[in-house]
Symmetry: C2
Subunit: 212 residues, 2 copies
């Protein structure tokens, strides 16, 4: 095995380093975040930094890059306080990736890439109609990360829309059956296959699989 | 499709809600975090909340639950300032899951579950010898999330140890070839299969696959 020091990492060409470091942290979700700007124009962007913060209350975070690098989603969330997170599936993966292009603010990525905005009562942010697992959030807190000028954006879940047949009787969602994708690095997308679920572990007890 | 409101979510039994909300955010990495306590006793715990913060400098975060729920890893990181993050592979998945049991502080999870601690020069925190992709971090900042008493723990990458044959010439890591796993919910573990990588997207240009 190879050992790589922090000074070697620092010496790398920036795209090589970005590919390497973005892969090193492992697989991650891939989601489209839907917002509207103050004029009601829909915006859609692909994010791979969604992180579970807590279940009670139901809080979800994501890391927003420095403002100049990802301005529209962040500005819209600050302005409206509402946004949606939508899972990505293979049949619209290319469109999802294409939302990462730097479109001007007056352009809707939905129109540009060919995805359909869907609005639910009382939620002034667009969902992705094609997505099988999606939820709306109200902004709770933006925490600046001063180390590199990024932000942890935390929202509370307001409403969920999803395919009923993926919800197991204990609340677990069969995301592989929904064909939700995961990602690696900046640009790699993957399907998944369940190995097993394991019961709550206890000291001295054998690790047991869950059968549902 | 089914629509679920926040008040319905709030009304659920807590384990059902935890399973549902932990799945809703999508697939995530699964990693073992290795630390030592102030007496040099190794500790190992499984975490699924690792999140990429930035590549230059190379910063990695994870969400630590309220202190009473996950005390040893957090206390050890605060005390020593150093920790390791280790990918999980199928051949030691049961052992990795078993580290989530609440062992007393004087017990080493390495011994209890049967994984081998590995030390590299200058890094006073144990790696998992069996892991094919692993890295050490120095603590940079602990950011309290007051909304639910959790913490965003951010470290800077000090050193990486990994299998050379998974590093592509542009720095991307073939984590599926390394058999790194991903997770869903509290207790589901998955293998992955690459669909494609896509080039940096540009407005008006066709979405293109990367061939390496």
């Amino acid at each position: 095995m190879q050992i790589i020091s922090s000074s070697t990492i620092q010496s790398w060409e920036r795209f090589y380093r970005a590919n390497f470091i973005n892969s090193l942290t492992g697989f991650k979700s891939v989601s489209l975040i839907g917002t509207i700007n103050k004029n009601g124009r829909p915006n859609l962007g692909v994010f791979s930094s969604v992180v579970h913060i807590g279940s009670d209350p139901a809080l979800v975070g994501y890391i927003n890059r420095p403002i100049q690098a990802a301005p529209h989603t962040f500005a819209n969330i600050q302005s409206t306080g509402v946004y949606t997170i939508n899972h990505v599936h293979p049949f619209f993966l290319e469109q999802a990736h294409q939302t990462s292009a730097k479109y001007p603010e007056e352009v809707s990525e939905f129109d540009e890439v060919g995805l359909i905005p869907e609005f639910l009562d009382g939620i002034p942010a667009p969902f992705v109609k094609e997505s099988r697992v999606k939820y709306a959030l109200s902004l709770e807190e933006i925490i600046p990360i001063k180390l590199n000028n990024t932000f942890l954006v935390i929202g509370k879940i307001k409403e969920v829309k999803l395919e009923e047949n993926i919800v197991l009787k204990d609340g677990f969602l069969e995301l592989d059956k929904a064909s939700s994708l995961c990602s690696n690095g900046i640009d790699g997308y993957y399907t998944t296959q369940l190995i097993d679920r394991y019961r709550y572990a206890k000291p001295g007890a054998k690790t047991e699989k869950i059968k549902i």
